[in-house]
């Protein structure tokens, strides 16, 4: 018998350079579709999606963020309190891979302790134009304790699998309230105890 009445809820954030396919990955995962022309995210989009594992159910609250560098300083608003992150790069762009590594470092430094980070090399359908070798990314991921998958939001390859792997790796604590008691230290010294940006008022 499954015990999947137990629902564990986690906040997940997507980070990565502009136009690597963060929103497309989320839309593929949540809505099951793909748009050839996906509008650039200027802000942060929120969606919810649940993954059923054999013994538990994991509900993701997904924050898809803007990739453009000018919005970099706003990213902590979204990865703060996240228990999981998907850092995305485009396998056709070495730059986007370098940027992904920077995101990983920032998360390791400023993200939630024990955050589960997945590295996703997206646009696998365009592997003919590959610039980032699988082995290279794989090695980096292993050295840094990251989940790693090459994905295609267009063909759906490895998209569900990626989220399922994250769901499996997340600790299923008895009190799965996201964020409680594990907020990271804010990056800027400030006593202002502002709550999350997205709290309803």
């Amino acid at each position: 018998m499954n015990n999947n009445n137990k629902i564990f809820q986690f906040k997940l954030v997507l980070l990565g350079e502009a136009a690597v396919g963060k929103s497309s990955l989320v839309l593929r995962f949540v809505r099951g579709h793909f748009l050839d022309y996906q509008e650039s995210t200027i802000g942060a989009a929120f969606l919810a999606q649940t993954v059923c594992l054999n013994d538990t159910t994991v509900k993701f609250e997904i924050w898809d963020t803007a990739g453009q560098e000018r919005y970099h300083t706003l990213a902590p608003m979204y990865y703060r309190g996240a228990q999981a992150a998907i850092v995305v790069y485009d396998i056709r762009s070495q730059d986007s891979f370098e940027r992904a590594i920077k995101w990983v470092k920032e998360l390791q430094r400023q993200g939630s302790p024990n955050i589960v980070i997945a590295l996703a090399g997206n646009k696998l359908d365009l592997a003919a134009k590959r610039k980032v070798e699988t082995a290279e990314a794989q090695q980096y991921a292993e050295e840094n304790g990251l989940l790693f998958m090459e994905t295609s939001a267009k063909t759906a390859q490895n998209v569900n699998e990626l989220f399922v792997e994250i769901a499996k790796k997340l600790p299923k604590t008895p009190n799965p309230r996201p964020g409680s008691g594990r907020l990271p230290i804010p990056p800027i010294e400030n006593n202002n105890q502002r709550k999350k940006p997205c709290c309803s008022n």
């Binding site: 018998m1 499954n2 999947n4 009445n5 137990k6 629902i7 564990f8 809820q9 906040k11 949540v30 809505r31 200027i42 802000g43 942060a44 989009a45 929120f46 969606l47 919810a48 999606q49 649940t50 059923c52 159910t57 509900k59 609250e61 924050w63 803007a66 000018r70 919005y71 300083t73 706003l74 902590p76 608003m77 979204y78 703060r80 309190g81 996240a82 799965p176 309230r177 996201p178 964020g179 409680s180 008691g181 907020l183 804010p186 990056p187 800027i188 400030n190 202002n192 502002r194 709550k195 999350k196 940006p197 997205c198 709290c199 309803s200 008022n201």
Partner: protein, 750 residues
Amino acid sequence: MDSTDNNNIVPPVITTTSTSTTSTTTTATTAAATTATTNAAPSTVSSGGATNDQEDVGVSNASVNESLAGLSHHKQGIPDGSYRSVDVNGQWIANKLKEREHLYTEKKNMTIFLGTWNVNGKKPQEPLDPWLCDPAMPLQPDIYAIGFQELDLTAEALLLGDTTRSLPWEQKILESISNEYVKIMSRQLVGILLCVYVKKEHRQHITMERSDIATVGIMGMMGNKGGVAIRFKFYNTSICILNSHLNAHLENILRRNQDMKDIAKNIKFVVEDNNIITMFDHDQLFWIGDLNYRIPLPDAEVKEKIKKKDFYSLFLHDQLYQQMKSGAAFEGFQEPPISFAPTYKYDAGTDVYDSSEKKRTPAWCDRVLWKTSKTAENVGILTYRRHELLSSDHRPVSGSFIIKVRAVIPEVKNRIYQEIVKELDKKENDSMPDATISTNLIDFESVKFMVPVTRTIVLENVGQVIARFKFIPKLNEKILCKPWLKISPFAGIMLPKEKITIELTVYVDSTTSYAFNVANETMDDILILHLENGKDYFISIMGSWKPTCFGNTLENLVRYQGPLVGTQPMPVEQKKLSIPKELWRMVDSLYSNNGMAEENLFIVSGVSKEIEQIKECLDTGTPFPAFSNHSMAEVIIRFLEALCDPVIPFTLYQQALDGSSAVLSCKTLVSHLPSVNYNVFFYLISFLTEVLSHHDQNSLSADKLAIVFSTVLLRPSPTNSALVQQSTDATIVKKKADFIKHFIHSHNNI
């Protein structure tokens, strides 16, 4: 409407932390909650009134679903609010799963054997096969529930709770039923023992086994009469079995009725989520035992009817039948038709009814009753018999029934669970607010000192639900935007399809110009427009600022040898100009343009077009165009007025007013001014003295000039609203003018 203070974001309190659908202890509602979380079969009570508090079953699934759906809607999109409870979603899913139970379960027929025997304190002697393995029984039962009474009549059992007598009986049972069975549970109350066994193949489908006892003996303590109950869930069907021994003797009908009610009331089980349920909160309830109801007919008549096997007419006189018929006890219970002779009272070891002096009339003391809940399918009767075991003064009785259970098909249940979860996700995502924004980039282009520039963005609600929006501060910031920007409205609400225009206005005055003129900041910012329970939009703000001497500081201006536009300031440590060259240029041009003789100079306003041209020339260093002296005089006033900190600095304002009547204190104050301020002050005083020397032509007086100039040289800080308000009071105006006049006069006297 939202609070205007965006920093105090208080999460709405949604009181969903309680995990069950209800926290009341009402048995009916707790039962509903139980089934909701465990997929038990509907177990709401359907009693005809045996326990009259069972009737209103309370929470319906539909109403729970509705209220939960409402709650989950409010909870969406709140990333780490610790108040958010996931249990609500779990409940909703569990309820939906329950509704679709028929899709992932299959009906199975199960048989249950219930046996009861008052053994009259005897130890087991003969094999129990004739009772438990009757070859007449059509099937091997899936469940055996075997009850004994008077297992132990010793004082030890009564007083010390010794239960060792049960072991040989359990041993005896195991010898009879095959080794295909495994014990679920047994429970004993003095002489009353109940043992339940299940076929091994079904063991994993027996869950939530619980037991309880209820005594009705003397003072409710002695336990010589009472009941033992075992409940469990068999697949999705909840079953409760009660074995009781009620009070004896022909005349004690009311006592027995009361015993039954007391037992029913006192038996309680704690099940999932600490819910407390009663016997009646089960799909199938079986009540067996020595209920002790008699047949109130003459002994001879009873025996005659027995001989003739006229059980039907005998049964019409049965006390239990009478009580059930009148509703006085066991209401809602049923009993299979009796087609066997009374099981009490025999001379032990014989087939002879009581031959002792007491000559007790034969009676059907030993019975098997059942009650099916209104929401469950009734049982099917297989057999109801007595069995010829002779060692006691009672004969054992058994009833066999078919129970329909629903067995879960795990793969299908899993699939349906996932469907429900996806459904909920989709509804949640679809009911999130959504809006489009006309632009993510606002360019104010060229922004000038004290000239407001307004741009608009249009927000449109393109979602299915009401959208509440508001601008929120960035992480670790307290303000929504820079002080030179105004957002109107900064929060609001839109119905679906509704549009709203938001005005963004840049306005730089002397309170905010420092950032651009002195600190060389750029006019860039990012605003965050947040849709409650939804997404965030970033809006980039940009504008270009041309350095200007208006809204500047004296300290900064003297570092520019050339025009502000196109010249780099001298390093701080280097020698500076003694006064800003812009001030010199203006005063000088008045001299050259015969301004001293201009009537009511500084009193008459200038021409606004000329004023703008003069200001432009000051910043770019180009020669002034033709101008009227009044325009130039007005620019001087505006220049002084716009200084971020006036010539007499804000910090000295109050002190200057306090000492304005005393020449000496005024002079002392001025002598302590920073050198640039000191220079500018005396430069202006000399200039005003010169102006006054032409009073014949310009008809100005020291009073007039002092009032005009004191207003701009001696200003309260705009952040001190009390001082700002007073500054136009006649007494204050006079004090300020007096301060300046001391200098004009003394200069004159030199």
